[in-house]
Symmetry: C2
Subunit: 430 residues, 2 copies
């Protein structure tokens, strides 16, 4: 066996401690896979002394993570600090410049600076691996980079954020409103104190842009993603979805279209008994339409110590056995600058909900506005309430352009017979 791969570990949160625990245990089977050992030589964290459930006393401690990049006894830097700029970015750049491989879980960093960092790594024949950045333990980066490569991929659809999926499944099972369930998720540790990046769809967009790049060989294009979060999903919409045979899921979707690459993050109505509809709680899943190879679904835990550590360890073994290769599956300078498919070109069916007071009168008005825009209705639910109480009219449209449906909704919202802004959720056939 060759000499062991020496790891400098930056960031000792749950995942960092988890990685340290695995590498401090029996690593024979990892060494067999890699053809050499893997050992931590140096670590860095904000606090040195803190019980992390693993003995770190054998490793050199660097108060400044940047020092890992210049240590002679480090072959690969594992960056678990996070953040798209700051120390994380500086460390990854310095490490690559100092001819050290990099393994990272940092989706924000790669979504913004992926191609430049990949180019830097490739110039030096170094690995830049990021399995842990997307869907935790699910080996989806490996699957797209090395597995589903024979045929052109047509589409990738994913439930990429466990916090949102936890909230939506809780809302469904309890009927409680978004804000309540979010508070509970925060209490249980499923949501951050500042949940904006998760519930607003930003985290899903970071992951999607990396999946898009891996699937289509394109430059990650974070700004090309239209993003909507789950903040405005109501228990009523989730319940009506069920009646129509759908579940509401926050999806990241990337597709090739004749007009370019389409990327979007939004709550969608997913038909029940399809794989993505059945993804529960904090689980993640990615459905890949791999052309002639058929559809695939990968499901598992998208976050947490075990799943994320598992992905970091897999990347380290790849580095140790010399499986380097370009970070995004093709050399950074070969990544395509694909056209963004204009959102208005996409036809979709829509779920629409209107809160109205007096049904007979308002139906004529709603119908007229939809008809004006040639939006036709596939099915409708309207359920009686006590006279004088607001009632929901819920419908699913046939395929139509978002321009038409938005124009119709604007006209309908202007009516004094309609309360609240009408709710619109696209349907997604996964």
């Amino acid at each position: 066996m060759s000499s062991p791969l020496r790891v400098g570990l930056a960031g000792l949160g749950n995942v960092g401690a988890g990685v340290a625990k695995v590498l401090s245990g029996d690593t024979r089977s990892l060494a067999w896979r890699a053809g050499r050992g893997i050992e931590i030589t140096a670590i860095s964290a904000r606090e040195k002394k803190r019980d992390r459930g693993v003995d770190l006393s054998a490793f050199a401690f660097e108060p400044d993570a940047m020092a890992l990049a210049s240590r002679k006894d480090v072959d690969v830097v594992v960056e678990l600090i996070g953040g798209e700029e700051g120390v994380a970015r500086a460390l990854v750049e310095s490490a690559l410049k100092a001819k050290k491989h990099v393994v990272t879980a940092n989706k924000a960093l790669l979504a913004r600076h992926g191609p430049a960092l990949a180019a830097l790594a490739e110039r030096n024949d170094l690995a830049l691996k990021f399995e842990a950045a997307i869907c935790g333990g699910i080996p989806i980066v490996k699957a797209l980079r090395e597995g589903l490569i024979a045929y052109d991929i047509a589409a990738v659809r994913g439930i990429l954020n466990g916090t949102c999926n936890f909230i939506l499944t809780q809302m469904e099972s309890t009927g409680r409103p978004f804000a309540d369930v979010l508070t509970e998720a925060q209490r249980l540790g499923y949501a951050e104190a500042d949940p904006t990046l998760d519930i607003g769809g930003g985290d899903t967009a970071h992951k999607l842009t990396l999946l898009t790049s891996l699937a289509f060989g394109t430059v990650p294009d974070l700004d090309g993603i239209a993003i909507r979060g789950i903040e405005n999903i109501s228990p009523a919409d989730i319940a009506f979805a069920g009646e129509f045979g759908y579940r509401v899921k926050l999806l990241g979707v990337a597709r090739t279209t004749p007009n370019g690459i389409e990327q979007r993050v939004h709550p969608a109505m997913v038909p029940i008994r399809t794989p993505l509809a059945d993804v529960e709680s904090s689980f993640n899943a990615v459905a890949v339409d791999a052309g002639a190879a058929g559809p695939f679904v990968f499901e598992g835990r998208g976050a947490g110590t075990g799943p994320t550590s598992s992905a970091v360890i897999a990347d380290l073994v790849d580095v140790a056995r010399g499986a380097i290769g370009p970070a995004f599956g093709r050399p950074a300078e070969q990544l395509l600058h694909a056209k963004r498919a204009p959102a208005e070109a996409r036809l979709s069916a829509y779920y629409l909900r209107f809160q109205v007071l007096h049904v007979p009168g308002v139906m004529a008005e709603i119908s007229r506005h939809l008809d004006n825009e040639q939006v036709s209705i596939e099915s409708m639910i309207q359920r009686g309430r006590s006279p004088g109480e607001p009632v929901a009219i819920v419908m699913i449209t046939h395929e139509t352009s978002p321009v038409a449906v938005n124009r119709a909704l604007k006209a309908i919202a202007a009516s004094d017979k309609v309360f609240e802004t009408p709710c619109m959720i696209p349907m997604e056939a996964a």
Copy 2:
């Protein structure tokens, strides 16, 4: 870029032609991934002239596949002939001895001779890759060998045979008996003229033994698998399963237990709304309990030209970029000779069906025999028929030993009030 990887392709059925088609097309993106080109130099098939939908005239044709192993212009032999002995085995051995890598889709060959072939490959620092042997395009070999490697795997459960799953889902949706649906499956090309290996569970066992080896680092132990097929599953059992909230699936299951490794292939009752229950038609899926990394599910097309070609191409790219590594994830001489967990040690709940004539009288007798063996009943269905017609008594037991339930069934079957052999299907919580 280095010189291209030169492929000798043995077997030009659908998959062979599919591989040739991919490698005859635009292979730039494969070359980027591999760091070098991949090109076919020589091919072999029983018939030279036959329209396979792809122009093969540029490649040297060898009437005898064995000749591929000795050609100077071949770096890797792709074996798509099939069969656990004969030409396939001889070709793979000769190729490895002649210092050529091997990519194969041959599960039967590897299930029987995997460790010896892996040892031969490893001695010569050669690749022996078999992604196409298990679940077609699903990159499950890669996932187990390279992805889910940080923690000990606890269990692998799979729907590994598309023919059986097609038949079972057709039986469920149409209510038609096994023999009818099998005939239809043969007509549609979903089942072979001789379907024994599929419906009898042998094909599932071949795949399971390879998954077991990859998951647990053990020597493939085909003879250690208890095998039952789907031949005796009746539409009645499938319908009753639905009433209890289950689906009947042919599963391959491998688990670590305190008594050793448990491997079994049999029809099982899988709870609906769990991932394996929802696998439809000819799809395959593998659920992996990866310890601290959590549960994972991989689903996709398990057979067919596109999916299987996709797996062969992925292996070829691995070979081309020098990602060799031991075939079963650890060196052949390090594979463990694990103890077989005795079948009688496994506790399971069971679905039982008895065909009886006169319910009140026979219930006492059935209950007595079950009670004698301390088999207790969790739930029961019995539905009235016209007097004098046989009627089914269906029950689900609590967890019990197979020894006890078999003894009880034997005693019950001996009763002259019970028609047919009682049906017994284990429940599997996936």
